[in-house]
């Protein structure tokens, strides 16, 4: 049996050959789905919402009020970013339901998203507080704390990225093991031609690992991004 890493599907014959993994292709699928959703759902808006417009309005409403509650009125510019991030993460994590590999089960994806938060934090820190005040923040409470503060800041994107990655990849590995185990169990009772045990039993685990953990982790990711970006302002 091969490992649990993302498989390389094909290579782009540029330079030395750029490998394109499952992660990238599945991200393209999500991008296509989200783009289509955005186009179709916002085609015609009516004063009295009907059908899919209800879904869109609920999503925007919930995320806007949540941003307002967590970051305050002044930082409402981040509401669209957070909604985008949430939709991307939620769709990524739910992709496991369709038997595809979630893009978030790849450290590259989660780390890239965590770096976005990291750069927003420090960009805001520098522009909103002023470079001097920002730099002075590293010398608090005492000057010799400088290296400790720097490591502490660097630990933030790492903890954000690894938490999401670990949760999703853990769920994915357990699901893969259970599917294989159930296939063996079906073979053991003489049903190797139709692995009947694989039907139904994994559904509950999918419910937990993909739906519950996936949505909770997406929520936690944007929640922490909001808290840390909000803190960068003051």
């Amino acid at each position: 049996m091969e490992g649990f890493g993302a498989k390389i599907l094909f290579e782009i014959p540029l330079f030395d050959g750029i490998p394109v993994t499952e992660t990238v292709v599945n991200t393209w699928i999500i991008m296509a789905v989200l783009t289509l959703f955005a186009v179709i759902a916002t085609r015609k808006f009516e004063a009295v919402p009907r059908g899919i417009q209800n879904v869109v309005e609920t999503l925007v409403d919930v995320l806007t009020s949540f941003t307002k509650q967590t970051m305050g009125e002044k930082k409402m510019v981040y509401a669209p970013y957070m909604l985008t991030l949430f939709l991307l993460l939620a769709f990524s994590n739910l992709l496991g339901l369709f038997g595809l590999r979630p893009p978030t089960a790849d450290l590259n994806t989660t780390f890239a998203l965590a770096m976005l938060t990291f750069f927003i934090i420090h960009f805001n820190g520098i522009t909103k507080k002023g470079p001097l005040t920002y730099a002075k923040g590293y010398l608090e409470p005492m000057a010799f704390m400088l290296p400790l503060n720097i490591i502490g800041e660097l630990a933030l994107p790492i903890s954000l990225a690894f938490r999401l990655f670990g949760n999703i990849v853990g769920g994915m590995i357990i699901m893969a093991l259970i599917y294989n185990g159930l296939a063996s169990a079906s073979a053991a009772i003489g049903l190797s031609f139709a692995p009947i045990l694989q039907v139904g039993i994994p559904a509950f685990l999918h419910l937990y690992f993909d739906v519950f953990a996936g949505l909770i982790q997406s929520f936690i990711f944007i929640m922490l991004s909001m808290v840390f970006i909000g803190n960068a302002y003051d």
Binding site: Q69, T70, M71, G72, E140, M145, P147, L148, N149, I151, G152, L154, A155, L156, I158, S159, F162, R163, I216, F219, I220, M223, L224, V227, G230, N231, D234
Partner: protein, 71 residues
């Protein structure tokens, strides 16, 4: 910081406390091991960076749980 957290937000912050303690210590272990292999000085850097990692973990924890910095 937010004035009013609901249950999920508290859950998120709680889980962040755990991992924010872990990240600097593990980072310290790997950095120390790498430096040791570069300078062939086992285990001086390893111990030094584990120690730094633990201190950073507690500082992060303190900042995170202890509330706002004074402005």
């Amino acid at each position: 910081m937010a004035k009013r957290f609901d249950m999920l937000s508290n859950l998120a912050l709680l889980s962040q406390i755990g991992i924010s303690m872990l990240a600097p210590i593990i980072g310290g272990v790997y950095l120390g091991r790498w430096l040791d292999s570069q300078f062939n000085s086992q285990p001086i850097f390893l111990f030094a960076f584990i120690f730094i990692g633990i201190i950073v973990a507690f500082i992060t924890l303190f900042k995170f749980a202890g509330g706002k910095k004074k402005s």
